[in-house]
Symmetry: C2
């Protein structure tokens, strides 16, 4: 494993060592858990060199969100990556200054519309344009051929996919399954904000989504009614939706894939999860 | 000269005939005048192949602007291009459907902030993000190495330049001088909206800008006072500004280059012009 912290070091490695290799990218905000490591392993198995970026991107946090307290644990992250098989094929890019990603005077924003009318797009205004802008920069900086994202951020994946398509970016994207604790709780760097009791309680998120999926497969109308009842009975659900996974709009006769997705607030912690299935 | 009207034809020419050539791009909305032709000639002299795009981009027009009545004169445009020396090195891309530029479902916008607080940015909300988005697409579609723009749209040039820098687009930009009628009136496709009498009157735009430049060189404070007096005395000025050409903000001790710029409404016609000079 090799660590670089500046754009110029990164350029050097890319130009000298990567020019003939297939390059995978795993963009992260650090504080790596098994979900991230699973993406890294997949990338290692599918490409010759994997670049893991670790950058807590200020542009994707709202004013009242947790940018300041977001866990920054570079040393442990590097240890975890170093312990992976084939870790010699990992390059970590962990800029220590925002300027490595957004040079002085940077003032361009890339925004995808049409997918942000629901779910997190509705509840985190400006979030996705922060994501698309940083992801564009990471694609450019790393010159990767294939980028890996987790399904937990399904809406994010769809938005990035649209950007790649619309802007004809020369990269392929891969969405990997959600990694969960035994309780069903989806792994997230934000899980550590919770007490053990809260974490236990938070397993109800996946349980609820799973129930809604089963219910939907039996009787869609009944599932829609349950969803509404559950949402209004539990004020900690920020949203709880059953949507057409393609349009992120209401399920209709055209729907072939369904997304059951929820955002839940546990104290100060906001957690998201989803299940995707064909019908 | 060769004409293509679809993305797939364009791709074919680029891949078969252009792959080894240096390619210049002159993006236009058609209705070509000597200003455009001067850009084309410059491109022909500096590159091996020149792509002239002719596309009236709906995204850069405001709701109450002249998208509908903007002159579309493809046949005459082609004749003018064909009459140029070295016209055999011109490829015209004139899409007959918006879908060639923005495929079905296209929903990405590229926006540059920080340069739109003044001049046209203030008076045409959303205009520049329409420009940057289409120009990005044209850069991608044509794969050009060098793109030519007129100084008349100085703010537009600066916004595009910022996008190219921020997004690390692999293209160089060249800004070419304004071409004027004998009266001083800057050439524009919108000039034809005017009666001969209006055109004569419109020559006051350049005269005023020139006077302000001379006045500024003699005594900046006096020029600033004249500017204000002129602007308030003549309601047809939409704006009349003397700005730092780099920041597009007030002239200061750091200013090395000055922009004198005006937008003037003559009946329904909105005209812009500017002068750029070092101090």
């Amino acid at each position: 494993m090799k660590l670089v912290t500046t754009k110029s070091e990164l350029d050097k490695v890319i130009n000298t060592e990567h020019s003939e290799l297939s390059v995978g990218l795993v963009p992260t905000m650090g504080n790596l858990h098994l979900g991230h490591l699973s993406l890294v392993k997949t990338s290692l198995s599918k490409t010759q060199r994997t670049i893991v970026t670790i950058f807590v991107n200020p542009k994707q946090f709202g004013e009242n969100e947790d940018f300041g307290k977001y866990p920054r644990t570079l040393e442990q992250d590097l240890k975890k990556l170093n312990a992976l098989p084939q870790s010699e094929n990992i390059l970590v890019f962990a800029p220590q200054s925002e300027r490595e990603i957004y040079p002085e005077g940077f003032s361009t924003t890339i925004e995808v519309s049409g997918l942000d009318h629901a779910l997190c797009g509705l509840h985190r205004p400006g979030h996705f344009k922060g994501v698309t802008t940083v992801v564009y920069q990471l694609f450019k900086l790393t010159n990767a051929h294939l980028a890996f994202f987790g399904q937990k951020d399904y809406q994010q994946f769809r938005v990035i996919e649209k950007m790649v398509q619309d802007l004809s970016l020369p990269i392929n994207l891969s969405m990997e399954p959600i990694v969960r604790e035994k309780s069903g709780l989806a792994l997230s760097s934000r899980n550590q904000y919770m007490s053990p009791a809260q974490k236990e309680e938070a397993s109800l998120i996946f349980k609820t989504l799973s129930q809604l999926k089963e219910s939907f497969l039996e009787n869609p109308d009944k599932a829609m009614a349950s969803r509404e009842r559950l949402l209004f009975a539990e004020p900690r659900w920020q949203y709880l939706e059953i949507l057409d996974a393609h349009s992120l709009k209401e399920v209709s006769e055209q729907t072939s894939k369904v997304l059951v997705a929820g955002a839940f607030t546990m104290g100060d912690t906001r957690l998201i999860d989803n299940i995707l299935f064909r019908i």
